[in-house]
């Protein structure tokens, strides 16, 4: 019993600076898996609510307002509705594959998070092939989409599946090229080769003192741009949501799905969005690093930046209180007001806990990482509110004729820029 406790506590030692997977601590690996997946589910639920609210406010409407204060409980109501719905399967569908497809998509979207580094010690594990693993596993979701479209045995899903898989396969190439140019940058300032490990990539940015998006300006920025475009295409979101173009193909590959299995597709779509955003954050935006980790150093700056997470939550809590105070003073609104105020209290409490130095030190990496990912999530919503939809041939043209050559060019130029000292040396001193 004692040894078990010691085994558990050994990882909590602040001197441990590696992920539980790398430390070989199975207990904490399991804990982290559960934490990550629970956090992911909460994030998807929150994203659902935020998307509807933000999109609504962009479009001069209110969005969900009825279920809970400001519609806060709407996603939960939706989830319950989906779970209670009848699970239909078309008579002519291929039952085994129809049954498997949503699980394949969800598995692919969730497994990716095994290597996502929320902090130097906050990843389930650190893999030597981290980024390759992420790209590979997320590309498996194409299989699920193709299976779903084919197994439905219906025209619209099949066309939708063919469209979306063609789209995902083609944009994967541009995406891969952009990723490689970022991986190339990790090999600079080191004696040997670079690294594919997600944690290693962030550490390389820390060591080089610059986020890769600003490295070799504007090369890093262009690579980041290529990735940012193709990650939207990769997740089949607006303006590249042709596979689900409601005005053309009703709902694309999941037209025949309903209830629980449809909600799995939904879950997978949103967690895939979070996954690709975390790749972008890790590769170009310095992962868990706080802003200016190298230039604004010293105890004072450390203290100021360690206060940001708590302050953010306090601010959110205050926002809740403000809105609770603005609620109509009518007995019918009493429960809603109390609920909103209670939500504010919870947020404020989290904020206060985050002010505790011991907690703040351990958690601020996660905060910065999540904040950066959240910015990407906001971008996704913003795109959806602003852009019309591309046509299929224009989409393919953009992938193959614009992003792919750009990616190749950036790759070559990055390599050249990285080797420039050597090239220069040979040029002037042959």
């Amino acid at each position: 019993m004692d040894s078990i406790l010691r085994y558990i506590q050994s990882y909590l030692d602040p001197r441990v600076k590696v992920s539980p997977g790398a430390a070989g601590n199975m207990f904490w690996v399991l804990v982290y898996i559960m934490l990550v997946f629970a956090g992911l589910s909460v994030a998807v639920i929150a994203m659902n609510w935020l998307e509807r609210k933000i999109l609504a406010h962009m479009q001069v409407r209110l969005g969900p307002m009825r279920v809970g204060p400001h519609g806060l409980l709407q996603p939960i109501a939706d989830a319950i509705k989906l779970l209670l719905k009848e699970d239909l399967m078309p008579a002519a569908a291929d039952s085994v594959i129809f049954w498997c497809a949503p699980f394949v998509v969800v598995l692919a979207a969730f497994t990716v998070f095994v290597v996502v580094p929320f902090g130097p010690a906050h990843a389930i594990t650190d893999m030597n092939i981290g980024i390759l693993f992420m790209l590979g596993v997320s590309s498996l979701s194409v299989l699920g989409i193709v299976m779903a479209g084919w197994a439905s045995n219906s025209h619209y899903p099949l066309i939708g599946a063919l469209r979306s898989s063609a789209q995902m396969v083609s944009y994967e190439i541009a995406m891969g090229l952009a990723v490689i140019s970022a991986v190339l940058m990790t090999s600079l300032n080191t004696s040997g080769t670079g690294t594919l490990s997600m944690i290693g990539i962030v550490q390389a940015q820390q060591a080089q003192g610059v986020w890769f998006v600003f490295k070799f300006f504007p090369l890093g920025l262009i690579a980041f741009f290529i990735f940012a475009v193709s990650m939207v295409a990769e997740t089949n979101r607006a303006p590249f949501d042709l596979a689900e173009a409601e005005s053309e193909l009703t709902a694309g590959f999941h037209t025949e799905y309903s209830g629980f299995r449809w909600s799995l597709f939904f879950l997978a779509e949103y967690s895939a969005m979070i996954a690709v955003s975390s790749i972008a954050v890790t590769l170009w935006l310095g992962g868990w690093l706080r802003p200016f980790p190298n230039s604004l150093t010293g105890n004072l700056w450390n203290l100021i930046f360690s206060l940001v997470p708590g302050a953010t939550f306090l601010f959110l809590g205050a926002l809740c209180f403000f809105n609770a105070a603005r609620m109509p003073k009518h007995p019918l609104f009493r429960i809603q007001t109390i609920g909103l105020a209670g939500f504010g209290v919870v947020l404020a409490l989290i904020g206060l806990i985050l002010f505790v130095p011991a907690v703040s030190i351990r958690v601020q990496d996660i905060f910065w990482f999540s904040a950066k990912v959240a910015a990407f999530m906001y971008l996704y919503i913003w795109y959806r509110g602003t852009f019309p939809r591309y046509r299929f041939d224009q989409l393919m043209q953009m992938g193959w004729k614009v992003l792919l050559p750009m990616g190749l060019g950036v790759l070559v130029l990055t390599a050249t820029a990285g080797l420039w000292p050597i090239i220069e040396h040979t040029l002037w001193h042959p």
């Binding site: 999109l55 005005s247 509110g385 852009f387 224009q394």
Partner: protein, 383 residues
């Protein structure tokens, strides 16, 4: 009989081409499809994603409006015409009232004419707003829809205040107006104009220079001016193809000749030009309304019209420029209280004929865009 009822299936042994090499794939779009604006059914013949040709199947919303007209008195039929193009009900009413007035040989008094112009032009704006919202939604931009509906609401409020109805207004009567304008009508209309002018810029900001929007609409659904005339296409579609033909100028009715406005025309005849033409038309409508409100004369609102209308036997055709194109009424009178025959020339129905011509050789996604840009209302197509 048995041969008729079996479904056609892909019989590989009889030498029929299989899916992969099939030159044609027939897809049925509608009548229940989010993008066909009501109950239009389009049978598409496709080669992969390319449209080889298409056929429209209409009649799902047929209510026999013309036939009903033969069994109602002239006054009683007036509200029915509102139900044809329910998006531009006021224009329909104007056309009908003017036609019967022509038959009766009466003319509405100037004040009535001015109010008619104001309400009809407001209606043109409302119709174009609805078109813009749904068209953009079809192409994938969801936000303009909410913007246009927000602003269209203000127009509907004016209607509601004027005649109690928002959509199918029945605003005009044969010989003039039923109601005098309400107190503060001019002010409210002017307020709306001031409110609305920057809103057009807002719509344009979202779309006009949006790269994706331009790529999706430029050179899509191109139709030449000659083809338009040959097919009888009218309205903004015709003008976008470069033909300067607007009945408000060509055969001025009401008192449009007193107002100063321009007719926008396009050059390419593609979806983008049609979009631009309609945007300018909204601005021109604002201009017309402004002049009409400023010059709103005092006086009676109803001409001398007999209680029981018995127009002299004969026939009359009169057309106006509805938001969607030339809206014509052909009425044959046999001297009784009911028309012998009412025939409507609806712009949507005639414009819809151009769909096949505009879509050939384009992609499936373009068909959606072209249906949107034609601005059809199925209530009017099927009547």
């Amino acid at each position: 009989m048995t041969d008729q009822t079996t479904l056609p299936h892909l019989d590989l042994d009889s030498g029929e081409k299989p899916f992969l090499d099939a030159n044609e794939l027939v897809i049925n779009m509608g009548p229940q499809h989010p993008a066909t604006h009501g109950v239009l059914r389009v049978i598409l013949r496709l080669d992969g994603e390319k449209v080889l040709g298409l056929e429209c199947v209409i009649g799902y919303l047929h209510r026999g409006v013309e036939k009903i007209g033969e069994h109602r008195t002239y006054t009683m039929f007036n509200p029915y015409v509102d139900r044809m193009d329910y998006v531009a009900a006021v224009s329909n009413g104007l056309g009908y009232c003017e036609t019967v007035e022509k038959l009766l040989n009466v003319e509405a008094p100037p004040r009535a004419q001015h109010v008619r112009v104001i309400l009809t032009e407001l209606n043109r704006i409302a119709s174009h707003q609805l078109w813009l919202g749904t068209h953009a939604l079809d192409i994938g931009a969801i936000t303009p829809l909410f913007y246009t509906f927000r602003d269209r609401e203000e127009i509907l409020k004016i209607y509601e205040k004027y005649c109690g109805a928002r959509l199918t207004t029945h605003a005009f009567r044969i010989g003039g107006l039923q109601y005098e304008t309400y107190l503060g009508f001019e002010k409210e209309v002017k307020n709306f104009l001031n409110f609305f002018r920057p809103k057009i810029d807002e719509y344009e900001e979202l779309l006009t220079t949006n790269r994706i929007w331009v790529e999706r609409t430029k050179n899509v659904g191109v139709i030449s001016g000659e083809d338009c005339i040959a097919l009888g296409v009218t309205g903004p579609v015709l003008r976008a193809s470069g033909v300067k033909w607007d009945l408000r100028k060509a055969q001025p009715y009401a008192n449009y000749k007193n107002f100063d406005f321009e007719i926008p025309t396009g050059t390419n005849g593609d979806t983008y030009d049609r979009y631009l033409v309609r945007m300018v038309e909204m601005r021109q409508s604002v201009r017309i309304i402004e002049q009409a409100v400023d010059a709103l004369p005092e006086g009676p609102i109803m001409a001398k019209v007999p209680k029981v209308m018995k127009p002299p036997a004969g026939e009359v055709y009169h057309s106006i420029e509805a938001p969607k194109g030339e809206l014509g009424y052909f009425i044959v009178s046999d001297g009784s209280t009911q028309p012998y025959r009412v025939r409507v020339r609806p712009p949507s129905f005639v414009n819809l004929q151009a769909l096949d011509k505009m879509c050939r050789g384009q992609l499936v996604a373009d068909v959606i865009a072209v249906i949107g840009t034609l601005d059809i209302v199925l209530g009017e197509v099927d009547r």
